[in-house]
Point group: C2
Chain length 220, copies 2
């Protein structure tokens, strides 16, 4: 199985080159792009649903959703007010890659948008290895997943630019040690900007929206 390593490296190099091309297209059009990653069910789609109404008068938003199957997520993004919502079905693939995003960008007139939200496949491992060309990587953690996830999935926590800790409304019902969680995060990614919030109740969402809008404005 020694033949496996060079092939994987070649794929990653090809992916990174295409990610740079995606980035150049986004920059040329003045579009700020985020790559949202998380475990299945941490609340990526719920976060996008909560976010879109806040941006209604501030930014024109396209959403690209990656899933193994179904268009549930893109349908939800469109219903929540995305000006465009594209679903990528990966078949069996456990992550999005730059080729898939390239295909999605081909379906969009980027000059019509200020913000591109990419929702990756629910997976705390593989998406971390594949650059897409987006400007910021965002991880959505959630309280019910447990406080040990930074320790067990260090690659994901190490590589992101912002952390949303979702479902804080469930803290009273779950043994989640916020100190232990935060220590794990800080060891991997010191000063990572973190937004504790609840997509269900709306608590904490404003700080997240402010950060996102500031980034969009800085870009355009």
């Amino acid at each position: 199985m020694t033949q496996r390593i060079p092939v994987v490296e070649n794929i990653l190099n090809a992916n990174d080159r295409l990610a740079e091309e995606n980035r150049a297209r986004l920059d040329a059009a003045g579009v700020f792009a985020v790559n949202i990653m998380a475990s299945p069910g941490a609340g990526k789609t719920s976060l996008i649903e909560q976010t879109l109404p806040h941006l209604a008068d501030l930014a024109r938003v396209a959403v690209v959703d990656g899933d193994i199957a179904t268009s549930i997520d893109a349908d939800r993004a469109a219903a929540a007010g995305a000006q465009a919502a594209i679903q990528i079905n990966t078949g069996g693939e456990c992550h999005l890659d730059a080729v898939m995003l390239h295909g999605a960008l081909n379906q969009l007139d980027l000059t019509h948008f200020d913000l591109l939200i990419v929702e990756n496949v629910g997976n705390l491992v593989c998406p971390a290895s594949f650059k897409l060309g987006t400007h910021k990587s965002i991880l959505v953690a959630s309280v019910p997943e447990g406080d040990d996830k930074p320790y067990k999935y260090p690659g994901m926590y190490r590589g992101v630019d912002a952390l949303v800790v979702n479902k804080i409304d469930l803290l009273p019902y779950i043994n989640f040690r916020m100190d232990f969680f935060t220590s794990g995060v800080q060891a991997l990614n010191p000063n990572l900007i973190t937004f504790p919030l609840s997509c269900r109740t709306g608590e904490g969402i404003d700080a997240w929206i402010d950060w996102l809008i500031q980034n969009v404005k800085r870009k355009t």
Copy 2:
């Protein structure tokens, strides 16, 4: 990238051959083995912690835990009463494979055990593609993950022999449509045996234990 496919196929074939060898070793020793898979944080380790005390007088249990990093899970299994607990750290790998289990089996005198519990890496995609040689595959879903997961991760739901739906104590606080979830499961895997339970409160755990013990007895 067309060269990629045959290499992956070769790896899977090699994996399947070694999985068959693992199965033969388990059978020769009279050990019943389960492969527990789930999203990160669905409650695989909690399920093992809840299960082990119920088996104390009934079966000698070894636990093999797969994680990207840390020995948190194996430590928890040992504390809960596993006669042996082995931690596999996969480095960056997003799943266990038959080679890794083979290495773990080499560290165990299988004649000392009746049941082997393998806890896979938290991931709802990749582990479904790699046979280990275990007798039954078990998926732990959890209420906070959301009711759309069977639709979005069909490969995992299609391939398992039993389904644990954990964290039912959180049903009052979450919009989880059990009918929608169950319809999705049934479409992919009709008559899949399902155990709704809460590792936190212990509700529903008995039916799961009964099923597991029956399988262990049938095997030995």
